[in-house]
């Protein structure tokens, strides 16, 4: 029994279990190209880590994962620093607001509930959207060409809206012209969610960049990682100061496991087709969402609970 005491979580957990958990989530994140935070936090809660400690320590762990990712993409020239900095400023503001929000919720006693409900909603929306999108693209591959032609007319209202915003700027790396206010506002939105959920926000940020900022896919992944890195640095420091919920030991074991697991995931991902991967990820996301929804909807064993996610 290799148990290690986690002083901030106030409990002792088996190292191999944590390493395995990190490895499993890392494997999935390598397989699907996402940070994996949205899977890690609920799994940590399931093994007995208080939810606020799980969320904050996970942000710390994502710092390591996104450091190596950002560095690799930077060398490939896939990081739009200009766009990234606007998203980042928004993310820092959002992260700070999110941490204070959690502090208030902890005092009110509903932090756990809000974390879980936010998860259920985000996982549900993203899971179903991805599932439907990949199912459609698998079934209707020949129709795709026509859909792309029809698309500009459909989105013109959104185009007009974003073009009406002031300070239009050209983002060279992404090849788009838009107001810096747009990435700033979207950054705030993702930052708040990242702090509440303890995730890097990658699985929200990537669709936002693709569909709302119209950035090319190869720049999206690198820029998203750059932004996630700094958002999570901010969340880690803010959580350490305000809530004392970052367990460094927990984060280190998880990141060692996840970086190793990611390598195996990347290898398997090269053997699978893109749509197969998307459907698989969407199914996992929906499964996690259903599990959380069931736990919220079914009668608890006890009608008393600790305040503030103990």
């Amino acid at each position: 029994m290799l148990n290690l005491y986690l002083p901030l979580a106030g409990n002792s957990i088996n190292i191999l279990l944590l390493f395995g958990l990190g490895g499993a989530v890392g494997f999935l994140s390598g397989l699907f190209g996402v940070g994996g935070g949205f899977l890690m936090t609920p799994l940590l809660i399931m093994v007995g880590i208080p939810s606020t400690v799980a969320a904050a320590s996970d942000s710390n762990q994502i710092v390591a994962a996104s450091t190596s990712g950002t560095f690799a993409h930077y060398r490939l020239g896939n990081v739009d620093f200009k766009m990234g900095i606007y998203l980042l400023i928004g993310g820092v503001i959002g992260g700070t607001v999110g941490v204070q929000f959690i502090k208030v919720l902890r005092a009110m006693g509903n932090a756990d509930f809000v974390i879980k409900v936010t998860y259920v909603i985000m996982l549900g929306v993203i899971g179903f959207y991805m599932f439907m999108e990949s199912l459609q693209s698998m079934r209707k591959k020949p129709v795709e060409a026509r859909r792309v032609e029809a698309a500009p007319a459909k989105v013109s209202l959104y185009n007009r809206m974003i073009q009406a915003l002031p300070y239009q700027t050209y983002f060279e790396k992404s090849g788009v012209t838009l107001s810096p206010l747009l990435p700033l506002i979207l950054g705030v939105f993702v930052g708040i969610l990242a702090a509440i959920m303890g995730v890097g926000g990658g699985f929200i940020m990537v669709p936002v960049m693709v569909y709302m900022l119209r950035m090319p896919m190869h720049v999206v992944v690198g820029t998203s990682l750059f932004q996630i890195l700094f958002t999570c640095i901010n969340v880690t420091i803010m959580q350490s100061i305000s809530n004392h919920t970052v367990d460094m030991i927990l984060a280190i074991i998880l990141l060692l496991g996840s970086t190793v697991g990611a390598q195996f995931g990347v290898r398997l991902s090269k053997r699978l087709k893109a749509d197969q991967l998307k459907i698989l990820l969407a199914s996992i996301v929906i499964l996690v969402m259903v599990q959380m929804l069931v736990s919220l909807a079914s009668a608890p064993h006890l009608l008393l609970a600790y305040k503030g996610g103990h």
Partner: protein, 258 residues
């Protein structure tokens, strides 16, 4: 394997007990007790700890052994249904509940059939603990039961009727031996160990000793840093993560988690 361990433990306990009975002063009425270890250290590999208590009581008497943590106000939430979701619907403040409570008795019925007047066990706790907040007087018994179950589910409250071993010793005395397991979630602090001599359904005399639980080594250092210097702790956590991220990136040629 477990049985062998248990047998060896029993032999050791009995041998120590005989030695203890010989070494303790032969006072007929006053019980005495010895806690081992007297200090429990929460180190990097802390995985809970079994604390053994040996005591001497007058022959023919029964005994109750209690381990009690310090009392403080506790803020709990009561859950209720809103729509189809279960969520926190009110606050309940619990007063005078010990942070840890474990009890064992020589005779089972001292705990299982204890009357309301009993000055030991859960019956005694129920008299001391009070609730305030979103709770009515009629709901008190139900929530008291819920509270005890909550604590038992965390292994910080436990009642073990008949788990206190009693053997006759020389000089009109009996030797009692018991043990309790401090779970991995035990908080640092001072815990009281009480050995009560029960005669005619009442506490005839009582001996007490302190048990210290202290965080030591790396966990203590980390905890002090996190609570005393939050910003420094956060920066260190970030620097370690970045360095490890780079190191793992180089090790696996920049694969990362993405």
């Amino acid at each position: 394997m477990k049985r062998l361990k248990y047998l060896l433990l029993m032999v050791a306990v009995m041998a120590a007990g005989v030695q203890l009975a010989g070494s303790l002063p032969a006072r007929a009425q006053e019980p005495s007790l010895k806690v081992s270890p007297a200090v429990v250290h929460i180190g990097a590999f802390f995985n809970g700890e079994t604390v053994t208590v040996k005591g001497v009581i007058p022959a023919g008497a029964q005994a109750v052994l209690e381990a009690v943590g310090t009392s403080a106000e506790e803020h709990l939430m009561r859950k209720g249904r809103r729509g189809f979701l279960w969520m926190n619907v009110g606050k309940i403040t619990v007063h005078d509940a010990p942070s840890l409570y474990m009890v064992a008795s020589t005779s089972k019925d001292l705990l299982t059939s204890a009357t309301k007047e009993a000055a030991w066990g859960y019956r005694s706790l129920e008299k001391h603990i009070t609730f305030s907040g979103d709770i009515t007087a009629a709901e008190r018994p139900e929530f008291m039961n819920q509270f005890l179950q909550l604590k038992e589910s965390e292994n910080i409250y436990a009642s073990h009727p008949g788990a206190l071993k009693i053997e006759s010793a020389s000089g009109g005395q009996s030797l009692v031996t018991g043990s309790f397991y401090l779970p991995t979630t035990t908080k640092p602090g001072t815990y009281k160990i009480l050995l009560s001599v029960i005669q005619d359904g009442k506490v005839a005399s009582r001996a007490s000793a302190d048990l210290q639980v202290a965080m030591v080594g790396f966990p203590a250092m980390l905890s002090n840093l996190a609570y005393g210097h939050g910003a420094t702790y956060g920066i260190i956590a970030v620097v370690i993560a970045i360095v490890t991220g780079f190191a793992m990136g180089f090790l696996f040629k920049g694969g990362g988690g993405h």
